[in-house]
């Protein structure tokens, strides 16, 4: 059972629906941005590492069917002295 304070408060609980649309739209934008960052940032960092003379990651960093990719790497992309 609600006391008089809770009763008074419940009179104001009808929230306009457009606020939900705005909040959830922003939530979806954040989620999409998060996924973009998750997918591209590791690859971008790998590319930068290569450009400044470092080594590329030994395994593909992008999400996806990674297992078969290791066999698909052409020979010319394997650095000298390194096994497939």
């Amino acid at each position: 059972m609600k006391n008089n304070f809770q009763q008074w408060q419940s009179d104001f609980e009808r929230i306009p629906p457009e606020i939900e649309d705005r909040v959830l739209q922003q939530a979806r934008t954040f989620a999409a941005f998060g996924k973009v960052v998750e997918v591209f940032v590791p690859n971008a960092l790998g590319a930068v590492a290569l450009m400044i003379g470092g080594e590329a990651p030994t395994r593909p960093v992008a999400h996806g069917p990674a297992e078969h990719l290791a066999d698909d790497v052409p020979l010319w992309r394997i650095p000298p002295g390194r096994d497939r």
């Binding site: 006391n3 304070f5 809770q6 939900e20 909040v23 954040f30 989620a31």
Partner: protein, 199 residues
Amino acid sequence: MAPAVTKKIVDYTDSELIARYLRDQNTMYFTVLYRRYAGKVFAKCISMLADEGQARDATQDIFIKVLLNLAKFTEQSSFSTWVYSITYNYCIDMIRKKKKMPLLFTEDVGKVSKETDPEIPDSVLLEMKQERLEKVIDRLPPGDKAILMMKYIDDMQIREIGDVLGKTESAVKMQIMRAKQRSQVIYDELYSNDPIENN
């Protein structure tokens, strides 16, 4: 053999929804949390800010804040207490900025009670008619209003109120006592000619 019971998403606890949202980044889980608390947050914003337009903007900002800080929620308190503490602090900050002065608690408006003043029982507030209570609450300083809302609407513990306001437990107890005394004074000012409620 009994069929496996699959739990509906609306039946998930707050903790389950948070964990799944953080794992999958699926807004469906956040939507359930939003629908569970948006009405209460909006009601608190209207009560604190006394302006529907500002309350709409505040509710939106508060939920974005909740979303961005969800990973920092440590479950030291319940999720509702955490959301409400963000709400109260946001509203108090807004009022502070709007009025450009820290007019928050009873001692700020010059009517400081003494520790020897008689304690006002909870029943004095809880037995007021809703219409009168609303008028009394509207005339309280925002800090007093917030502290009474935390105690009587959200059933928050003294320790939790202290965490929200950054005060010690004894300071919170004192503040509640002053807020109740202040409410009594306002009530007497408004209704001294009509002490008996006829409605």
